[in-house]
Structures are given as C-alpha cells and as structure tokens.
C-alpha cells in the first residue's frame, strides 16, 4: 500500500508499490492516447478535400450576399467524448465564441497536457516517487487529468454520483470494471490531495 506524498528537504516524496506506479503510468498513457487521437481526428477533418470547395460551391449557388458570413473561419466543435470535453473545456458559454477560441488554442492545450502526462510517467519510473518544487505542479496536473478522465467514465456529474463512487471503492475487492475504476479514482484523488496539501503547507505566507 502506498504512503502519501509528503514534503522533504528535497521536494515531495511518495512511496508507492511497483504495481501502483505501473497502473498510474498506464492511466497517463491512456489519456495521452485519447488526446493524440483527438488531434489526429481534427487534422483529418481539416484536410478533407470537400472543405476546399465549400467557398466555390457557395459562389456557384449564387449566395453572394452570404459570402461575408461564409468567409468566416469556422470554429472547432467541442469533443463529443465526455472525458475529452472535461480535459479540453469550452472557453465561453457562447458556442460560437467557444468554437473560435478552440480553433486557436486547443492544439497547444493538448500539447501541454501530453507533456505533463509524459513527465508524470517519467516520475513514476522511480521508487520512491520524488518530485522537485518544479515537477510537483506538473505531476499534480497530470494526476488531475487522470481523475477527470476516470470521473467522466464513472459518470460523476454531481455530488451524489461522487459519493456513490466513493462508497463503491470502499467495499474492498473490485469485481466489476466500474468498481475497479472507482478504486483507481479514489486512489488518484487521495494521492492528489496529499500532494497539494503538502505543497500548500510549504507555500510561503503572503507578502
């Protein structure tokens, strides 16, 4: 069983069993794969040949008056997958504004997250898991992305659902996929809580 993150003279340290580190690393890899697939899907959509004729077709159809609106660069739609939607949220409650923002920013957000998750996998290679002050927030963000993904898979969309998952995890031997995911969710939640509690403790007081 793992021992929680705590502050040491050389950063933060958690003792984890090798199967726990492997599992967490595997979850990080799954999130990376999801993010990469989203990027590939968007790239494929952008290079679909019919897109380049859209403008031409409008002109042929005599939609001259609408050309201004048609010339507007199209935004990027939010992901349909619930986990990706949590990882890559809309930046506005207005769908059009959100789609425009997404077109400009989503790729770099995906890259940032993938880099965080890769760094977390590196940190999980060694026992104990030791993080410098610089590495700790990166690891924390990656843990959070794993939690968001598991939460979406477990349909945690309100407090009651979160409690159900907590209870499910407390029952001991996981027999179903949901019970197993619930245990993983509770484990990563606990790791993150201990890491950020330790980080808040050593944060310098306000100037």
């Amino acid at each position: 069983m793992a021992r929680a993150f705590r502050a040491t003279t050389r950063g933060y340290r958690a003792d984890m069993e090798s199967h726990e580190r492997r599992l967490l690393s595997h979850l990080c890899a799954d999130v990376i794969t999801m993010l990469e697939a989203r990027g590939e899907a968007l790239n494929d959509a952008a290079t679909e040949p019919q897109d380049s004729f859209a403008h031409f077709r409008r002109e042929l159809a005599g939609l001259g008056a609408d050309l201004d609106a048609g010339d507007e660069i199209p935004g990027v739609e939010p992901p349909e997958d619930a986990a990706l939607a949590l990882l890559l949220p809309d930046a506005s409650t207005d769908p059009v504004e959100a789609a425009q923002f997404r077109r400009l920013s989503e790729a770099s957000l995906r890259e940032t997250k993938i880099a965080d998750l890769r760094a977390a996998r590196m940190a999980l290679e060694s026992e104990p898991v030791t993080l410098t002050e610089e590495q700790a927030p990166v690891f924390g963000r990656a843990l959070n992305d794993v939690r968001l993904t598991l939460a979406a898979r477990l349909n945690i969309d309100d407090e009651a659902a979160a409690e159900r998952v907590h209870d499910m995890a407390g029952r001991g031997k996981a027999a179903t996929t949901d019970e197993f995911m619930a245990e993983l969710y509770t484990f990563t939640t606990w790791l993150q809580e201990t890491l950020f509690s330790a980080m808040l403790d050593v944060m310098p007081e306000d100037e």
């Binding site: 409650t93 997250k113 924390g140 939460a151 945690i156 407090e159 659902a161 979160a162 809580e193 944060m203």
Partner: protein, 101 residues
C-alpha cells in the same frame, strides 16, 4: 468542486450575452465554474500559485466557486484573460471568458 469525496455540480447560468467581434479593448472577466471532480485544496492552490492570490483570497474565491457555482477570479484585457483561461484549462479547471458589462 469536491472535497476528497466530491460535491455539487452547479452547471448553468448561461444568461450572459457575449458579443462577438465588438471592441476588443473592453475588459474581460475570467470565470471559474464549479464541478464535482476538482478538489478544493487543488483549486485553492491553483488560485494562489497562478494568480498569486493571498491564502485568504484564494480560499474565499474557492468557496465562492463551490457555493455559488462560479466566481470571477481575474479580469483584464482580452489577451490576458485568454491566457488565464487557457492556463486554467491546463490545470483542469472549467474556466470561461466573459465580457465585462
């Protein structure tokens, strides 16, 4: 937002009217929304470390998100607000940009 056990999701509040393509120099607000996954300690830490808010201020903003469903955590020119929203998304928080009245 959640404690280690989770908490309320207060989605909604789409009463804003974001005008697209109007004056870009108008100040923008950065809004963080409540969700049942992000931990209270984590959210408070993000507000402190990213915005440099005091312990007290970060805690108040975090509680406002938790209790009222949303909180304006920063405001400024559009470019800065966009950077803030993207950074908050990097931390996994549900953040949006909103034009000031």
């Amino acid at each position: 937002m959640s404690s280690a056990q989770g908490s309320t999701l207060t989605e909604g509040g789409t009463d804003l009217d974001l005008q697209i393509g109007v004056l870009t120099s108008r100040p923008y607000k950065v809004v963080v929304w409540n969700d049942p996954v992000n931990l209270m300690s984590y959210v408070a830490w993000v507000f402190r470390s990213y915005f440099g808010h005091s312990r007290e201020k970060a805690h108040q903003l975090m509680l406002q998100v938790h209790r009222e469903g949303r909180s304006v955590v920063a405001s400024g020119p559009r470019e800065k607000a966009e950077r803030d929203v993207t950074a908050l998304h990097g931390y996994g928080l549900q953040a949006t940009l909103e034009e000031s009245e």
